[in-house]
C-alpha cells in the first residue's frame, strides 16, 4: 500500500498554525500582530516621506541636512527607522538626473519612511529587469526619460536604505508645505514617476 502523503496546508492554515505555535511557545503573538498591523496600516505610510520631501523643498537648510544624513534629518520630523537600517541615503532628482530604487535580491525598502513596498516592487519582473532594462521598464511604467538625462539605479543590497527626493514641479511656487506634501506619492519616492 502506498503511504498517503497529506496535501500542503493552505497559506491561511499555515499562518494560523505558526501564530498559534508561537503564542503557545510564550511569545505574545497577538499583541505583536496588533502592533505590527497598526504600524503597517496607520504609521508606515508614504505620507511620512511626503512630509520629508515637502520640507526639503521649502527649507534649504533641512534639504542639505537630509542629503548629508537622511536618518538624522527624518528623525527631526519624528520619523524613525528600524535599528538595522543604520543609514538613509536620500537621492536628489534634478533637471538632468533621475534616480530609481530597487532590491534585486529580496525587496528591501525604507518602509518606515516611504511606506511598505507595493506589490509590483516585490515582483520578480521588477527585480530582474530594472537594473538592466532600466529605461525600458520606466517607459512601460509611464515614465519616458530623455536620452540625455542621467539615470541612476540603486540596488538595496546592504542594510543602507534609499529614498528618492523628487524634483519640485515648477507650477508649485508659493504652495504651503501641506499642499506640496499632498502631491508626493510613494511611486515618486521609489523613482518610477516624476512629479
Amino acid at each position: 500500500m502506498t503511504p498517503h502523503t497529506p496535501a500542503i496546508a493552505s497559506l491561511p492554515q499555515r499562518a494560523d498554525a505558526i501564530e498559534a505555535a508561537l503564542q503557545a511557545h510564550g511569545l505574545d503573538a497577538k499583541a505583536g500582530i496588533e502592533l505590527g498591523v497598526h504600524n503597517a496600516e496607520d504609521v508606515w505610510l508614504p505620507e511620512r516621506g511626503a512630509r520629508v520631501v515637502a520640507k526639503a523643498w521649502v527649507d534649504d537648510a533641512f534639504r542639505q541636512r537630509l542629503l548629508a544624513n537622511g536618518k538624522a534629518a527624518v528623525a527631526e520630523l519624528g520619523i524613525d527607522l528600524p535599528p538595522h537600517h543604520r543609514h538613509l541615503v536620500v537621492l536628489e532628482n534634478t533637471a538632468s538626473v533621475h534616480n530609481v530604487i530597487c532590491c534585486t535580491l529580496c525587496s528591501c525598502t525604507a518602509f518606515t519612511v516611504i511606506g511598505l513596498p507595493p506589490d509590483w516592487y516585490k515582483d520578480l519582473n521588477y527585480r530582474a529587469r530594472i537594473v538592466r532594462e532600466s529605461r525600458s521598464v520606466l517607459h512601460e511604467m509611464g515614465l519616458d526619460l530623455p536620452n540625455e538625462m542621467e539615470l541612476r539605479v540603486w540596488d538595496t543590497t546592504a542594510d543602507t536604505r534609499y529614498m528618492v527626493l523628487p524634483q519640485r514641479p515648477a507650477h508649485t511656487q508659493g504652495w504651503s508645505e501641506a499642499q506640496l506634501a499632498a502631491i508626493v506619492s510613494k511611486d515618486a519616492m521609489i523613482g518610477v514617476t516624476r512629479l
Binding site: 497529506p6 500542503i8 496546508a9 493552505s10 497559506l11 491561511p12 492554515q13 499562518a15 494560523d16 498554525a17 505558526i18 501564530e19 505555535a21 508561537l22 511557545h25 511569545l27 505574545d28 505583536g32 500582530i33 505590527g36 498591523v37 504600524n39 503597517a40 496600516e41 538595522h84 543604520r86 543609514h87 541615503v89 534585486t104 535580491l105 529580496c106 511606506g115 511598505l116 513596498p117 507595493p118 506589490d119 516592487y121 520578480l124 519582473n125 527585480r127 530582474a128 530594472i130 537594473v131 538592466r132 532594462e133 529605461r135 525600458s136 521598464v137 512601460e140 511604467m141 539615470l151 541612476r152 539605479v153 540603486w154 540596488d155 543590497t157 546592504a158 542594510d159 543602507t160 506619492s185
Partner: protein
Amino acid sequence: MDGVHDLGGRQGFGPVVHSTDAAVFHEEWEKRINALYGVAVRAGLFNMDEYRHAIERMEPRHYMSAGYYERTLTSLATLCVEKGVLSLSDLEQRAGGRFPLALPLGAGRSNAADAHTFRIGDRVQVRLEHVVGHVRAPGYIRGKTGVVVHISPAYPFPDAHAHGVPSHDEPTYDVRFHSAELWPEAADNAFVHVGVFQSYLIPAP
C-alpha cells in the same frame, strides 16, 4: 549562493504590472505574517540575515511560485524549527497538512582576511568568488569594476551573520557601475549602484 533569488539582470521576465494604487497586502493572513516575523526578530529568535537567507534556501520551484509573504512565512517557520523553538510536526498538526520549509543551511564564512579600506572616488573591483552560503553581492557585479560614491557605517557581515559564524561589523560602499560594464552592449544606458560589503571588494587593477 547562486540561487534563483539572485534576479538582477535575468532575462525573459515580462512587463511590470504597475498600478498607482498598488496594494501592499492582498489577504488578511499576509498582514499577520508580516507582523509576526517582526515579533520574532525583536524577540531575538533570529536576525535579518538569517531571515533573508532562509528565504534564499527555499526549494527553487517553491521560491519562484511563492508570493512575497509566503516566502516570509516559510522563512519564519524554517528558522523557528531549526532553532528548536517550534517543531515541524506540531506546525503540521496545527495546520492540518504539510508545511514546506526551506532546505538546510550550508557553510558560512567570516570577513575577508585581507580586507581593504576605500575612500569616495576610489575605483574598486568586486572579487570573483563563488560563495556557498549567504552573500549580498548580486551575481551581476561579480568581477566588475566601479567607483565608490558613498560609505555607510559598519554593518554585521551577512556571510557570517546568517550562519552564526563569528565576525566583525564592516562598512558597505555604494559602488557606481556603468550598465555597459555590467552587460556590455546588452543593457539600457544607466549607472547602477550597489551597496557592497568591504570584504567583497579589492582595489581595481
